[in-house]
Symmetry: C2
Subunit: 398 residues, 2 copies
């Protein structure tokens, strides 16, 4: 085994200072005063914090406007306004999925993410253009980041004939996850929509990650339908509900649903949205529900916000859930790291001997300080190699 990197004087999770030896892409030793093997590169950790690689568990790599001229947003207020505007203007705006996903992936990596789950649009106007583009990025940027794809019927599944067939092709092409979208509000046929996406899961033996923006009772109804199918089809631990705004409704309605989510190990993805009802993160974690997060779309035709920083997302999770105590901020970090890794079923994840050498080194006295400061002075390690320093990636954006 060739020793590849000795990291001196770092503090995993802001604990005591140690050295970390990285060999063949793994953390092989964590101890004080490790002797440098002959010829190994030594990196001064400067007493900084080490956290595991940030997990971007929900984004849309195929359609960010990152690096394109500013897009003046004049889109209408409804969800369908945004869906239609995007589909109709994607080509005119030159939103090439291969190029744009590469740009966002580099940005994501240099901010400290080491894993991305990306929903990728599948629709009858663009076919598998998005899937092919993001797969090209996945294959071309493996040195800096791991990407998995969710085949995502952004424009609706049943309301636009031909989409289901394209979803099938997307799964054949190698998407790792089946996606779905608002079975009531968009597709107007909850039974039809859910039967279709769960059937795809069964056919390809793949998990489901469904967008559910539906609020209140409607969203809870769809959640119940998802729960029923998860149970009936033996898909415990294989379903994620993204956004799940309806879990922000009154506890009297929501608490019984949370019990079922926990029993069937259905994961929840929340961005900590400031303007919408939101899943109660602390309560979900306490109930044993896996909770992950993501930046969702960054700088796209939906909205201008975002920089792909999952530490900023941890701050948003904290602000939305009124997390102020240090132990609460640690939960926000967990959502953006270990919990995301559980949802994405990443083997060998963590900062411990034997784990993948996928981590971030960044300044701060405590984990809470690292979150609220969000220093751009980060060193990002992927597969044992430093892939970004102080906001500069080893890869150049196309």
């Amino acid at each position: 085994m060739t020793a590849s990197l000795l990291l001196r004087n770092v503090r995993p999770y802001a604990g005591p200072a140690v050295d970390m030896l990285i060999e063949n892409g793994r953390i092989t030793r964590i101890a004080s005063g490790i002797e440098a093997p002959a010829g190994v590169a030594v990196e001064d950790g400067r007493g900084e914090i080490v956290i595991p690689g940030l997990v971007e568990a929900h984004t849309h790599l195929d359609k960010s406007l990152w690096g394109l001229p500013w897009y003046t947003n004049e889109v209408g207020p409804k969800l369908l306004d945004k869906i239609d505007n995007e589909r109709e203007n994607k080509k005119r705006l030159d939103i090439d999925p291969a190029r744009q996903s590469a740009r966002q992936s580099i940005q994501s990596s240099l901010m400290g993410s080491t894993h991305i789950r990306s929903h990728v649009d599948v629709d009858t106007e663009h076919g598998l253009w998005g899937v092919e583009g993001v797969m090209a990025t996945r294959d071309g940027y493996r040195d800096i980041i791991d990407i998995e794809l969710v085949a995502f019927p952004q424009s609706g599944l049943l309301r636009r004939p031909g989409t289901l067939e394209l979803m099938d092709q997307a799964m054949k092409a190698g998407c790792e996850i089946v996606g779905g979208l608002d079975p009531c509000a968009i597709d107007r046929d909850p039974k039809g929509h859910l039967d279709a996406v769960f059937a795809l899961c069964q056919t390809y033996g793949k998990p489901l990650d469904i967008h559910l923006h539906e609020p209140g009772e409607m969203g809870l109804f769809s959640t119940e339908l998802i729960i029923e199918r998860t149970r009936a089809l033996g898909m415990k631990g294989k379903v994620t509900i993204s956004h799940a705004f309806s879990l922000g409704a009154e506890p009297a309605l929501v608490d019984p649903v949370i019990e079922q989510l926990a029993a069937l190990d259905i994961a929840i993805m929340t961005t900590g949205p400031a303007s919408r009802p939101a899943p109660p993160v602390k309560k979900l974690l306490a109930a044993g529900v896996r909770v992950c997060s993501g930046n969702d779309g960054i700088r796209d035709t939906w909205g201008p916000y975002g920089n792909a920083d999952m530490l900023e997302r941890a701050m948003f999770i904290g602000l939305r859930n009124n997390l102020r105590r240090d132990d609460e901020l640690r939960l926000a970090l967990d959502v953006c790291t270990t919990e995301g890794a559980k949802v994405m079923e990443i083997a060998g994840y963590g900062v411990a001997e034997g784990c993948n050498a996928d981590f971030v080194i960044l300044p701060g006295e405590t984990v809470a300080e690292a979150i609220v400061t969000r220093s751009p002075k980060r060193r990002v390690v992927k597969r044992g190699k430093i892939v970004a320093r102080d906001g500069v990636s080893i890869r150049t954006a196309p």
Copy 2:
């Protein structure tokens, strides 16, 4: 008149590139191709955006922990837990109001704020310690920022005998604004509390800026009592309600209140809080209500968040109010600039000939991009002089 600065090639509000001539602390000319007066310093604007100085219209300069060792927050969940914890630990934690307000003021200035309204604790344990400290900073840092003080009974007014007398002394000492706090929820005597703070306003001929965290019907009741007194005492245009969470209740309850706020020109301060009901910014502005914002406490015993950046606050306002369109983001900027200036009654504010030369130069293609990017590469001009560049102030923090 001595010419002091010629700024070449800047874009006010991201409009066409112009030159700006600054003389004696004022913008005297805005035009293309201004000839440099003899001996004048010339600054290359590099085609960047100019916005007026950011207005931090609600913070607590006296009690930030900025620059102190990390404070591990283990405080209880209730408002009173936070109030009592802070009062009881202020001296132990060495939160010296003079030093801490200087630190935050420098941080605020280098992020682009040119004006601050600071609430300052007045209580029977610390007397006027806070007021004296912040006044020292106000007087000592006039070159980089303007500060006005609100005498603020953080621990309650009537529930702690002796506080009202201290509030009177604080106004005598030169506080510009009378403060108040949750007349129902904290002082348990809305009539008594409001009669007392309005009486102080009458005695000293000063405006009121009252913290109102009370939610729902209770908060709306307190708001009605404030409205009644504002009308009866002829204080139209002289009252600000800070936080005003109750304005985030159902429109059926809130809309009639908004009409009265507009009629009496009562201003609203909102931080765009993600975890609480919040005043509807667009609706308030459309009704003609002045709406300002502030970072509230940054890195204090209440919570760890904040960096004193009012552009970040504009983003929070945008996220909380679901502002996505470029014209909506301009509103978020207005709240953090011109609207704040209206609330603070700043004369000569703006980016136009004749205005004070208090402004920020920062990169970006559009105003919306400036908000979502929040570049640290800002040049801050106060009284015609560049007081910060790229995050470095001309003043050194104590």
